[in-house]
Subunit: 492 residues, 2 copies
């Protein structure tokens, strides 16, 4: 069945312009989300409602990631929302990291519970309790599991998509026979996340390891992906953890090796969340609203009919619906805007705010000439022949996807300082922000002082792909020999 002709009539145009990014980036971000109806504030403290326009982006993200996980042998499963409070305590670092931000169920079915249940902030503990039951022998390994779920972390300061008490995510959990295999898995996923962010979100990322102070509570290493938003603040977009044998030991997940010995499994966990929608907004959005990369857009094309008389309307509507059918058949996600009593300009304004990549305008003159007017969300308007339109539109969408990535990459590079001095770091953080690459002695004293004095944190110790060609020799802060190159930024 087709969509109702008029599925958007409940969305009345709000004609007040967004606060410009340059004036107040944070206000712009919040207004854009509400204007484009991506999400809304809810009556529940710290929790948001993800509206259909926002959820559709999440569904495209899910589909793309899920396909990649499955193509590499992972399977989905589902574990309980509730975790006995005592489970969280079994891994010492883990409980320290998560206990302060948990929501706790103390009443069930009208009675006080004997043991309170924590609403999962992440599922390692409940999953390892199950792994200890399922895994006996090296033949049972590897176990490669992923879960799409909601999690809860009690946040004091919340931002739509970026930091909410409840959020949606996927969390992968794998168990392996060797430390090398677990490390390979953590890096495989890091690569999948990077491909996804670059190719689907058109969002360039740095990859690398977190410093010890920033790693996941319970991991031996945390790998991360960091993107630079338009306000030159970093967004941690995903993490992949090598958990070593920490959780295996806490939950006694052992297996019989091929030689007949008993050993603990080696494991990983990894996740990305609805925070990525915030990343799309802050990477590509402009002062008119969302700019959505075509591969993630709910609608890649919207067709707006142009007409004056009733007679024109009938002919044009018919042509618009026929064109929609043609584009949909070719797999192009196409919406039509047949609302009556609304001027084309008001429609353009609304669809721009929602970030639809291409707008087609079709009127009697276009019909007579066998053409259609095509406006790109990223700028430019051109009359296209109907002949060969499908291929042309597919090409335009691919080009826009690539150009969005290239523009974001150029912006990031322009906001990146390599081999920075202490003064560069201080100036950047007092001024424009951005990624600052410099040497690091490896000491937490320097890390803490930098954070206290500049508000910048080590986002990651970059992987080979992102390291400076000539590594810095001295620590950016204390001038002692550098152990590792590091990347600093202020972060969300």
């Amino acid at each position: 069945m087709p969509l109702p002709l008029n599925p958007h009539r409940h969305l009345m145009a709000d004609t007040k312009a967004l606060t410009p990014r340059a004036q107040d980036f944070s206000a712009w971000y919040n207004e854009l989300i509400v204007r484009a109806e991506l999400a809304d504030y809810s009556p529940v403290r710290g929790c948001m409602v993800i509206r259909p326009n926002g959820y559709a982006i999440w569904e495209h993200m899910q589909r793309a990631l899920d396909d990649m996980f499955k193509a590499t042998g992972h399977q989905n499963a589902y574990f309980p929302l509730f975790i006995p409070e005592s489970f969280l305590a079994r891994e010492a670092e883990h409980v320290e990291g998560f206990a302060p931000e948990t929501a706790v169920v103390t009443r069930g079915g009208g009675k006080e519970l004997e043991e309170p249940l924590v609403v999962r902030p992440t599922s390692e503990t409940i999953i390892y309790a199950m792994f200890s039951k399922w895994i006996q022998s090296y033949r049972d390994l590897p176990v490669l599991i992923n879960q799409w779920a909601n999690v809860v972390r009690w946040e004091l300061r919340t931002r739509l998509f970026l930091r909410t008490t409840e959020f949606l995510w996927q969390e992968g959990h794998t168990a392996h026979a060797t430390v090398e295999e677990a490390e390979r898995e953590a890096l495989l996923i890091l690569g999948i996340y990077r491909s996804f962010m670059e190719e689907w979100m058109a969002m360039p990322v740095l990859t690398g390891r977190k410093s010890d102070s920033e790693r996941f509570a319970g991991a031996i290493h945390t790998y991360a992906l960091e993107a630079l938003m338009q306000d030159n603040k970093a967004l941690q977009a995903g993490t992949s953890h090598n958990l070593g044998q920490n959780f295996a030991k806490a939950f006694d997940v052992t297996y019989q090796t091929a030689d007949g010995d008993l050993d603990h499994v080696w494991s990983t966990s990894w996740g990305v969340s609805t925070r990525l929608i915030g990343g799309v907004i802050m990477t590509h959005g402009d002062d008119r609203g969302l700019v959505c990369p075509p591969r993630l857009a709910q609608w890649q094309v919207v067709i707006v009919p142009i007409y004056r008389s009733d007679e024109e309307q009938a002919t044009v509507f018919e042509a618009v619906l026929a064109l929609q059918a043609t584009l949909r058949e070719a797999g192009i996600r196409t919406q039509v805007d047949l609302r009556e009593g609304m001027k084309p300009g008001a429609k353009y304004y609304e669809w721009e705010a929602r970030g639809v990549p291409l707008r087609l305008e079709l009127g009697p003159r276009d019909l007579a000439g066998g053409t259609v007017m095509c406006a790109k969300r990223t700028g430019g308007k051109e009359s296209l022949p109907m002949e060969g339109l499908v291929e042309r539109i597919q090409r335009e969408l691919e080009t826009m996807q690539r150009e969005l990535f290239e523009a974001a990459l150029a912006r990031r590079e322009a906001a990146t300082i390599r081999r920075a001095t202490k003064q560069d770091l201080v100036d950047a953080m007092a001024g424009p922000g951005g990624f600052v690459f410099g040497g690091w002695c490896g000491g937490t004293t320097c890390e803490t002082e930098i954070k206290d004095q500049t508000k910048a944190t080590i986002r990651l110790l970059p992987d080979a792909d992102f390291q400076s060609p000539t590594p810095p020799e001295r620590c950016i802060w204390c001038d002692k020999p550098s152990l590792k190159e590091a990347v600093w930024a202020k972060a969300y």
Copy 2:
């Protein structure tokens, strides 16, 4: 990337046969789920773990239903897990129905909450709070929203898939300008559910209205779908509610009509859950394990190599992988079982327990003859020519899908008594069970007495499609004139 050659090595064959259905249906059901690794008990009271084999069935269900919802104009969204306790209380029947079975968060971020938060047992209240914000005018209607989510109802007696404290479901919530439109929506969804259950689950269902005592807390009508399991007990498989203006009034969801008046919206809600997996098991399973309808099966075909020597093994493995590639290319979900050191018979036993529709056995003799041996999960084994194999397998899968439905329908009809007398009802409930159709005076006295004396409840007042050709004239219990035909059964 291909799946690892040996993704199932962690699954050791358990060679103990299942308890036969005829001996103890309930034991059979529980053992089957654990044996086929569909789900497992968790350390959290009343909560289960859905394992990959079970979750894959749920994913196929989700995809099919989601496509149908979207094709009829519904959009997905996501609302908060937590609901302020006071919201639940706003609709009087609703709070009475749900408050006794809620899980309540009283602590967050280390502090006692001022207002406790209920973990959603269903989302009407939080969604209507948002609708009151979003809906202003008749132009904003209809709102057609669906949510895929977890919900929690504190259950005292739990059964895997059928009744668990937490379960996964979808819940649709729609708002309309007129009562007629809301009624049409509730029936549209009932029809979608019926198609899905018949065509995907191969599970025949009765549709109809619930009696007042069985309707949803807060609805004016509840429509339901009821299926008959192999033990002749009914399973409520889905519900679709016409909520009238009850929630609109409780949450003050008003809109300006085209005439400029103010009115409350008319609304519906509807849902199906992971309980449906229990329905598949109890509709089609046999004493060897799950029988999964091809359209929902994680793997539709498994290929088992047959070989004696290393040389044979190399040739046969190559042929098995080539055949898998061919079948996958044609969209047939195909797994291979290349485990070494395990006899073919043990593999057959395992894949039968998991319900894979077709098993292909491929050995040197088959290769030489250009054939492959094909065993159907529902019985029968036949050598098929490799030539035209894809089409043949597609046909076999379609045939099996249809035959499973027909067999289930025949079984249900054999266990159905029409125009039953009081004695028929008593005897059926004391004996074999099944669906008993009879007249009903409409009185709750009869309804309650029947329940107390026979344990049967009115499953529904059947829709025209399922009513007896000649309607019963007298109430099955009190012999007064019948108002409606009703269907009784014992139920899960």
